[in-house]
């Protein structure tokens, strides 16, 4: 599995399409996490669902970077960015390659 992270509008999807055209692309992983948190799923359950969905084939998972700001006022937003952050750490450990995309440029960090 390949993981791509970065801020919004940095060209992550474009980068994935250019470099990993033979892979399935899952865009907006952070939004998936948000949706599942709304349904009261735990961190483990969400990770489990991600694993199940990416069980077959070659996958590129793409997520926005959410953690680089002031602690949100809304507790739910805080929970979202923290759970997303921790899930990304776990996915990065499993990933064969990790890229961070900035200004359309991919930096391989694993």
């Amino acid at each position: 599995m390949i993981l791509i992270v970065g801020g919004s509008y940095q060209g992550k999807t474009e980068y994935a399409k250019q470099h990993f055209s033979n892979h399935n692309i899952w865009n907006g992983l952070h939004l998936f996490v948000k949706e599942k948190l709304k349904k009261n799923l735990s961190e483990e359950q969400i990770l489990d669902e991600i694993h199940k969905k990416t069980d077959e084939g070659h996958w590129v998972l793409i997520s926005d970077e959410l953690g680089n700001g002031i602690v949100p006022i809304d507790e739910k937003d805080t929970q979202w960015r923290e759970v997303t952050g921790r899930i990304l750490i776990l996915l990065a450990k499993e990933a064969d390659e990790v890229y961070r995309v900035l200004l359309g440029m991919g930096q391989r960090i694993k």
Binding site: L3, V5, G7, E65, L66, G67, N68, G69, I70, V71, R81, E82, V83, T84, G85, R86, L88, I89, L91, A92, K93, V98, R100, Q107, I109, K110
Partner: protein, 183 residues
């Protein structure tokens, strides 16, 4: 010698910093915790304690006035059971809490300059008394939101501290999804 570890919330910067300290050859390890204990932070403090368990840290807790930790550190080292020569390494976590604690202490708001100057002086004192100082700090600067003046002043202070620390550090790492990127 300062090593600066920078990253966003839940980026894995704590674990990265702890591993950095644990992989150092220095035996005596201190952990300087700056987070105030409150119902909000209880869970997080607990999680970090579990992460540190068995890694051989002696914990010091100072939400403000971190140079006072030196006194406790020395006292600890002179107690019989811990009397030991040799080098020590200190992990300070986290600068973002320390700046907030110093700035908003007793409802009186310090200016960013005043706050940053005080902290940097105290860090200098810690650096002199330790052989290696690893500082964890936070990236709170990239959400593009406009904040009230107090928060802006806080961000300014943290930014000043971060930049000064980076300038005097031996090495700087940015942590992204648990991976340390050497700057």
């Amino acid at each position: 010698m300062i090593t600066l570890v920078y990253g966003g919330s839940s980026s894995g910067k704590s674990e990265f910093a702890e591993n950095l300290v644990c992989s150092s050859r220095i035996q005596k390890k201190y952990y300087l915790a700056t987070m105030k204990y409150s119902p909000d932070t209880k869970e997080r403090i607990h999680r970090h304690r579990v992460l540190r368990e068995g890694k051989g840290f002696h914990t010091l807790e100072y939400a403000v006035d971190i140079s006072n930790a030196l006194k406790e550190l020395k006292e600890f080292e002179t107690t019989e059971s811990h009397a030991s020569e040799g080098k020590c390494i200190l992990l300070l976590e986290c600068m973002s809490n320390l700046v907030a604690n110093e700035m908003f202490l007793d409802g009186e708001i310090k200016s960013a300059h005043q706050c940053a100057d005080k902290i940097l002086k105290e860090v200098e004192a810690l650096e002199k008394q330790t052989d290696s100082l690893v500082i964890v700090t936070n990236n709170v600067f990239e959400d593009g939101r406009n904040y009230d003046n107090e928060t802006k002043e806080y961000m300014k202070a943290l930014g000043m501290v971060n930049r000064q620390l980076a300038a005097s550090a031996e090495s700087v790492f940015e942590v992204v999804v648990g991976i340390g990127i050497k700057q």
